[in-house]
């Protein structure tokens, strides 16, 4: 059994805020929920499936279901694999819909790390001592930035990848962000700007990192029979894949990601190949995240990511693979320190033809969205969606 063409994304909403000092996290969840339902032309009374992850305050989905006022739920899923949870939720929603366990699934993400002053990438977090890896990592100052930096360092060692090549990824994102009125960083930057920004964790510079922002987003997934009765263009889930990669008892290889497996599974289910993809949303916590995932998804050979991203190849209208045309996490928004839902939202905009005209991909009928959650330097989840405009 496959989820191919069993479910459609009919609602997508990105909160416009980037700093929500006067709003609660629960309020942001409720606002994006209503935003996505309004976009779909549906109401809370239509929702019988609800999906959220660790950013949702409360026990799993319970507090948010209560607060938002979802009173007809017959299927819930609060799987948390970090920032890519929401891509995985789309896949799980499609599975539930295909099995008749729910008809209208709502997925929400929201958070306010910027208002709360969270040093997202640079502060080691103690975590729960029952988590077996904490005592073997926290004493060493393992944070987010230095874990991804070690991936970059090893990738450079094995494949000759350069800081200039990584910088091109930020340059491309900034070219797109200049057209997004909500983006945190709208200034177009150059390779030199990235290289001249201070080192955060060698070899990653400040401009190799994503922004820290408040905000959120939501998606509505439903079955094709309902989708076709609504007024919005129908975006079908054609294939999905997920994977978990970890330190494997001390055999960790920092040069690849779980995208190698999640991507292959999604492409197989969709019956398409990377060269068929017209637009790609690629998780961009750091520039190196993008580079490794592009290789692992098969957009280029392993080790050739540096050459692939250079010279504007990811810029819409310029290169072969337009990516993150909203400016991505690198320039636009990384709500709740989790960029998964915005990856799906921009892919939906592209497939609907509703991206900013300056970055809209012509005849965009097939798109990919891919996310990573957790840390590429230790353990992470990966989730890939292949989406198609009907």
């Amino acid at each position: 059994m496959s989820i191919r063409d069993k479910a459609c994304i009919v609602g997508a909403y990105e909160h416009p805020t980037r700093k929500a000092e006067d709003k609660s996290t629960a309020q942001l969840h409720a606002e994006v929920a209503l935003g996505a339902l309004r976009d779909a032309g549906l109401t809370r009374k239509d929702v019988d499936g609800y999906f959220c992850a660790g950013d949702a305050p409360g026990m799993g989905p319970l507090s948010m279901a209560d607060y938002i006022g979802l009173d007809r739920l017959r299927h819930v899923d609060s799987t948390d694999v970090g920032g890519c949870s929401y891509l995985l939720h789309v896949a799980h929603a499609a599975e539930a819909i295909a099995l008749g366990k729910c008809n209208v699934a709502l997925i929400t993400l929201a958070g306010r790390p910027r208002s709360e002053g969270v040093a997202t990438g640079t502060a080691p977090r103690a975590g729960n001592p029952a988590q077996p890896d904490v005592q073997f990592e926290y004493p060493y100052g393992a944070a987010i930035a230095n874990m991804y930096a070690m991936c970059a360092m090893r990738h450079m060692h094995e494949y000759g990848t350069t800081s200039e090549q990584l910088a091109w990824i930020k340059v491309a994102a900034s070219h797109h962000a200049q057209h997004n009125e909500h983006a945190m960083l709208r200034k177009v930057v150059t390779v030199e700007d990235v290289l001249n920004s201070p080192l955060v964790a060698d070899p990653l510079h400040r401009l190799d990192c994503c922004v820290i922002s408040d905000g959120g987003g939501a998606l509505v997934v439903t079955k094709p029979e309902i989708a076709r009765t609504l007024k919005r263009p129908v975006v079908s889930v054609r294939g999905a894949g997920e994977a978990v990669k970890h330190t494997m008892g001390g055999t960790i290889d920092l040069t690849y990601t779980g995208a190698r497996f999640a991507g292959a599974r999604a492409f197989e289910e969709a019956g398409v190949k990377p060269s068929d993809i017209k637009y790609a949303s690629i998780y961009d916590s750091f520039t190196i995240t993008v580079l490794m995932q592009l290789e692992d998804l098969g957009f280029c050979e392993k080790g050739q990511g540096g050459r692939f991203v250079a010279d504007g190849n990811l810029i819409s209208g310029v290169g072969k693979l337009p990516f993150n045309t909203d400016g991505g996490g690198l320039c636009n928004n990384h709500p709740a320190n989790r960029g998964g839902i915005t990856k799906v939202i921009e892919a939906v905009r592209q497939l609907r033809g509703e991206a900013h005209p300056a970055v809209q991909v012509k005849n965009c009928d097939l798109a990919l969205a891919h996310g990573t959650g957790g840390s590429l330097g230790t353990r992470h989840g990966s989730a890939t969606l292949v989406l198609e405009r009907e």
């Binding site: 077996p132 004493p139 070690m150």
Partner: protein, 132 residues
Amino acid sequence: MSEQTPQRVPPSPTPDPSTRGFWEAAKQGKLLIGRNASTGKVHYPPRPICPFDDEGEVEYVAASGEGTIYSFSVMRAKIPYAIAYVELAEGPRMMTNIVNCDFNALRVGQKVKLTFVPSEGDGQPVPMFTPA
């Protein structure tokens, strides 16, 4: 590296019932890794259940303390520090810090050797590495 350069003091690890032996051994200057008594395959961090094979009891054995830097990054914090994965001579790659070194001279593939650094509070020694 000048002697005045402050060195980061690691926070103390919180052992659990399955790792008390590991941290006690560290007080004796030993780095323990897990070894499957049936297959001989070694793993890190050590745990009572072999992560690779369903069969075989895990025994804890001391690593030689020799290794090479698999990857590293210098965190540009108020007190900078070098985090690394060191590939032990026995095979496993271990997250650690490289200490008592010139951060600018660190290289992937560099040979390093085991040392122990006292942590905050109770001074529990934490296994780290320094250039060989």
